[in-house]
Each structure stands twice: as structure tokens, then as C-alpha cells.
Amino acid sequence: MSLSGNYFAGVDVGSLAAKSVILKDGDIFATGLVPSGVNSVESGLNALNIALESAGLKQEELTYIVGTGYGRVSAPYANKAVTEITCHAKGANYLHPTVRTIIDMGGQDCKAIRIDQDGAVVDFAMNDKCAAGTGRFLEVMAGVFKVELKDLGAIALSATDTVPMSSTCTVFAESETISLVARGEKPENILNGIHHSIANRIAGLFSRVGIESDVFFSGGVAKNSGMKNAIEQALKVTIVKPEIDPQLIGALGAAVIARNFAKKEGLWA
């Protein structure tokens, strides 16, 4: 592995996971992903150190670091902080310049983002206050059915029917689910209904900002195949397949922005 070159890092500290991406010049060189702890400085550094270790680099060898996610305000290791909305836009654009619409579903929020050909944000909308339509909602549902979070999507895809879920609140949805199970509905059909209800809430966000192809799905929930399928049906679109873990897109965008800042500030030609 050649270590000559310029290195730029993005660190995305979210509510459930901390992620990092290191770019070597313009290419993805290393990544890191750890669960977030209560100390966001530590979480971000842990994620960064994993990437540094796998790259065989030291932190001081990084030309520029950009912090993003809710932990960005507590990132003393970063040169600059940028919101994750801007970072997801840049990350998706880096992978697929034809992307114009992004759905980002993280642990505690969900975003509908429209971007232009340069990856600049044109418009965005986010869920406010409510956990319905987020990774945390799916975590609660996995708990109800006593299955692993990672298996939820596949179970939903095995459904033969879709049981509508009317509750818009995570807590009420939990009790509605218990009632549906008691009524004899099959778990996979209920889970399918849950995925579709989340997709419908996301569709509501797009009624504000609009949709234009290509469409990209980022964030931890994007790993859920059932969710991807439900969103494709709700929005009547085909989602572009990401080449890397979709949970890393925010950190990737932060690294791209770090490279741009470094260039602007004359740290990299």
C-alpha cells in the first residue's frame, strides 16, 4: 500500500453510529464504523482511529478533517464542521453524479434532499420531533418481534400480504402491532405493513421537495432491503445501488468537502 499522497477525512457522528471515511487524493482509502456512545468526541475519534489503523496512517498525516452529524459540534479533531444534509449530498454525488434526490434514514431522523449536478443542496425536508420513520422506530419493532434489526427487511420481503399500520407514533405503533399479533396476523405481513407505513411517511416529505431521478438511499436504514423495496413502491422510483455501505455516505461527503476546503485554503493543489 503506497502512503504517498494527500489524505482527507470525514467523520460522521450520528445518534446510533459513528462513521469515518479517508480519501487518498480523490479515492476512498479507508473507512471506520462503530456504535455511538454517550461521549460524541470519543465516538468520533474511535471511528476515525479504525479508519486510520486500516490505512496505516496517523492522524497528523491527514491534511484536513471535516466533522458532521449531531456530534459535529463536539469534534475538536476536525478542522471544520458541516451539517450532514450537505455531506450526504456530496457523498451521493461523489458516487453517482447523476443522483438528484436522496433519502437519508438515520437513527433519529429522516431527510428528503434534492441536489443539483454538482452535489449542492437545492431543497430539503426533515421529520420534526417524531421518531416514526427512523432507525429507532425499526429498532423498537425488531424488539417487539424479538428478531435482529438486520433481519427485519428480509422478513418483510417474505410477506404474502401487507397489514396496514395506522399509528403515526412509535409507541402507539408498538401497541397496535401487539394487537395485530393477538388478532392472528402473520408477523411478516405486519412487518411488511410497518415498512410500507414508514415509506408513506417518507413520501410525505417528498411532497414538499419533489422527486427527480436518479434516487439514492443513504443512512443505516438503507441496509434494510424491505425498506428499500417499500420506498421504491411508495415513491414509484428505482433506487440506485450504492457501491459502499450506505451508512458511510455522510462521512464520505464530509471527506469530499474536506478535500475541497483543503484545496480552497491552499493546503492541497
Binding site: Y70, V73, V82, T83, E84, D109, V121, D123, K129
Partner: protein, 461 residues
């Protein structure tokens, strides 16, 4: 280890001491020397939370040390609680109001009118020595109590909970039943059934559904204003004449004119002459109500206009304002964004629609003052139909050269929530300016989630 506190620099003292006294309603004055002493010696001990150097502090106030009126509005804010206590000790009546009205009738009836935010400010100032964390916890506790006593659904609970708890000596509750405060009923109902229901309550019935051009509606509302003044007179034991109201209208028109001139002067500048907080604190003086003392507001406003004119002439940029900042116009009732953190993100707030609506609405001075005040109040641009309000807002956006518009509505503020989308759609359609709508969390603290959205919007601009 003690928290790091902001201190005003002695280097600016001399210039500050050359500025004017503040004159109060009771004829007393406070000199720049006394203000300087208060801000540098007394206040940091009484209210360390207001001086704490803390990234998350939502309302730290401006730190533009070279703008004397910035320090003076700070002084009026920090002494607010003590001044309200003193006013009560001296037998002054205080009314809790709600509904976005001008306070001319209260001034006429020798009564201090306080909105929910000011009632909270009075209560907040009663306890000394708190750092930011303790102060935030105290405010949250108060909010929790309001959820218990009123409703979890209500937006502005300030006032009612303090009346119920007997925290504050409020003599009368007199909200305007206007659409902008759809949750007034929560407070009114809680008050009717609460332990302090002996505190007088008057609903000033505002004819809804855009009746500004209907003589019957103006007459009807004028009658309600007479009821209001009569009720205030019952509390004070004095008799307010039509001439008293006319004098109050003239006084408030002076404030409204000055406030409007100051705002237009600020907008005319090539570079923002102050930061967001100073702009807001000075323009809002135009309604002469924000510090619970009409004369004090007027005296600082007159001086502020002079300083802003100087800055505009000399091309001075406000403290901590970025080069070529993105200019934001904020819409919605009882809301604003964190000025200092938004400036850190490269933005500046150039205007708000809410109280600017009645600051920029003069009241006719010839004829029946009740009729004239009723007519002006029914014509507030903010209270008009969506299309009319949007068109007025577009004019303000153009005058202020805003780059982006953020509409914020508090949780529970149902009317503003409902109309936010059509209003920003009209603005977007007719100006092409990017817009963003944000629903603010219940407790109203300016939290990280909100700042995240504001910063993303600024980055987008």
C-alpha cells in the same frame, strides 16, 4: 472550576460613558456610569448564565461592545425582573397579554402589558446565581409544571403557570382572541379552573376572518377595546379618558415611526451595521413594550437610530458578522433563531414578520381613538388572509434583500402550522427565494436539532 464569563472590555468604557442616560416612565434616570457598573460588576454575579461563554447558549445577547445601545438593551433586559418587582412595590398594575396586539390601551390606562415571553423573563430573573445548565433546568421545570396545569399541547404557556403558582404579581389577564394564538383557550380554561381564578380575566374579542374593511367589525372591536380599558381602570382605580388614549397612540406612533426608520436604515446599509441580536433588540424597541417601560424603550430607540445612522454612513459591519453573510428573513409567531450561532454559520437575520407587522402600522391620530386603534389593529398585515399576508411579507423580504426565508412555528401553534406551507409557497413562487419550514419543539429551547436545520439551510444558500 468556575465557568468562564464574558466581560465587557474597559477599552470601550470611555465611549460608552459619553452616551445618553436612560429615562424611565416614573421620571427616574440611569446614567451610563451606573449601567457600566451594573453590566461589569453586579450582573455577572446575579446572572452568570447571561455572561457564560458557552457554545450552546441560546440567548446570550449581543457582544457588540462598541455599540452603546447594545449594552443598554442588555441592561434593560437584565434589570427587567427587578424593575417589574419595583413597579409592583410602587402600586403599578401589570397585565398579562397574548395575541400580538399593540399596547397603546395599556399605556393609556397606566398598566404595564407583558407578553408570555416577558412574563417568563420576569420570573426567570427572580433567581440569582444560576449558570446556563441550572437556568435551563429551572425553565424546563417551569414548563413541566405548565404541562401539568394546562396542557402538553399548548405552545405559549408563559404567564398562566406563574399566575397559578402565585410566582408573579399579575393583576389582570387580557388576551386578544386572535387566530395567531390558537392555543389561548388552554391558558384561559386552566385559569378559570385554577387556584388563582380571582385574578381578573378579560378576553378581548377580535373579529376573525379578515374583517378589516367592515365598519361593523371595527365598531365591534372598538367596543372591546373600551371594555379592555374599563377593566384595566377597575384594577387601577383611575379613569382613563379618550384623551389619555390619544396621547398613548401619539406616543406609540412616535415609537413605531422610529422603529420603522431604524429598520429601513439598517436595510439600506451595504454591510449589516449590527449583528442579528442587536438588529432585533433595537427594531423591537419601536413597539415601546419590550422592556415593560415605554419611556425607557423610547430613549434607547432614539439613541440607537443615531448610532445606526453613523455606522451605515461609515460602512461599519456589526460584531461577529461574516463577510457577505446569507441574509435570512424569519416568519412565524413568537419565534426567532439563535443569532450568534447562525452568524457563526455565515448567516444574519435581517427581519421578522411577527411584531414588525404592528410596528409598521401607524394609528390615525384624528377622530375617535378607539375606532382608529381598532381599525389599525384589524389591518395588521400579519393577521390578514394568506395571500395578503404573503404579499406584505414579500415586500419586506425585498426591502431587506433577504436570500432565504425560514418559517418557524411552535408545537401547538396550530394556525401558524397550517398556513406556513401556503405562505412560503407564494413567497417561493413570486420571489424564487429558497424557503424552509421548521416546527419548534415544545419547550422552546433553541436546541441542536433546530440549529442543524438552520445551518443546513444556510449551507444550501
Amino acid at each position: 472550576m468556575g465557568k468562564q464569563l464574558f466581560r465587557y472590555s474597559e477599552a470601550n468604557k470611555e465611549k460608552f460613558l459619553e452616551s445618553d442616560n436612560i429615562t424611565f416612565n416614573d421620571g427616574s434616570t440611569v446614567s451610563p456610569e451606573e449601567i457600566w457598573h451594573y453590566l461589569t460588576e453586579e450582573a455577572p454575579v446575579k446572572y452568570p448564565s447571561a455572561f457564560e461563554v458557552n457554545l450552546y447558549q441560546g440567548n446570550r445577547g449581543s457582544r457588540d461592545e462598541t455599540l452603546p445601545t447594545s449594552l443598554k438593551t442588555r441592561y434593560l433586559g437584565l434589570t427587567f425582573s427587578a424593575r417589574m418587582e419595583k413597579a409592583k412595590d410602587n402600586g403599578k398594575s401589570i397585565a398579562f397579554i397574548q395575541g400580538g396586539q399593540a399596547v397603546d390601551p395599556y399605556t393609556a390606562a397606566d398598566t404595564i402589558a407583558l407578553r408570555p415571553g416577558l412574563v417568563n423573563q420576569w420570573n426567570n430573573g427572580l433567581e440569582y446565581g444560576n449558570d446556563i445548565n441550572k437556568e435551563n433546568l429551572r425553565r424546563k421545570k417551569s414548563k413541566e409544571k405548565a404541562f401539568h396545569d394546562m396542557s402538553f399541547e399548548a405552545c405559549q404557556t408563559g404567564g398562566y403557570e406563574h399566575v397559578q403558582a402565585g410566582d408573579l404579581r399579575i393583576d389582570v389577564i387580557a388576551p386578544y382572541t386572535v387566530l395567531r394564538c390558537s392555543d389561548i383557550s388552554y391558558g384561559v380554561e386552566a385559569h378559570r379552573h385554577g387556584p388563582k381564578k380571582n385574578v381578573k380575566l378579560l378576553n378581548v374579542d377580535y373579529p376573525l376572518r379578515y374583517q378589516a374593511d367592515k365598519p361593523w367589525a371595527i365598531e365591534y372591536f372598538a367596543q372591546n377595546l373600551r371594555r379592555l380599558v374599563n377593566t384595566l381602570d377597575e384594577v387601577t382605580g383611575r379613569k382613563t379618558s379618550e384623551d389619555d388614549l390619544l396621547k398613548a397612540i401619539k406616543l406609540h406612533n412616535t415609537g413605531r415611526r422610529l422603529g420603522t426608520e431604524l429598520a429601513e436604515l439598517w436595510w439600506s446599509a451595504d454591510v449589516p451595521p449590527t449583528n442579528s441580536d442587536d438588529r432585533a433588540s433595537m427594531v423591537s424597541l419601536g413597539n415601546l413594550e419590550v422592556h415593560g417601560d415605554v419611556q425607557a424603550s423610547l430613549s434607547v430607540l432614539k439613541e440607537a437610530k443615531k448610532f445606526i445612522a453613523e455606522r451605515v454612513k461609515n460602512g461599519v459591519k456589526g460584531h461577529a458578522v461574516a463577510d457577505n453573510p446569507k441574509r435570512l428573513f424569519i416568519l412565524g409567531s413568537c419565534v426567532g433563531i439563535n443569532g450568534s450561532r447562525s452568524e457563526d454559520a455565515g448567516a444574519i437575520v435581517v427581519g421578522r414578520d411577527d411584531q414588525w407587522s404592528h410596528c409598521s402600522s401607524l394609528v390615525e391620530e384624528e377622530g375617535d381613538p378607539y375606532y382608529n386603534l381598532a381599525k389599525a389593529t384589524l389591518e395588521y398585515p400579519y393577521e390578514q388572509s394568506i395571500e395578503k399576508r404573503a404579499q406584505w411579507t414579500i415586500e419586506q423580504i425585498k426591502k431587506s434583500r433577504a436570500d432565504g426565508v425560514i418559517f418557524i412555528h411552535n408545537w401547538g401553534c396550530n394556525t401558524q402550522a397550517a398556513i406556513s406551507r401556503p405562505i412560503v409557497d407564494i413567497i417561493k413562487r413570486e420571489t424564487g427565494i429558497p424557503t424552509y419550514i421548521h416546527e419548534r419543539d415544545l419547550h422552546g429551547l433553541r436546541d441542536e436539532q433546530e440549529q442543524n436545520r438552520v445551518n443546513a439551510f444556510v449551507e444550501m444558500l
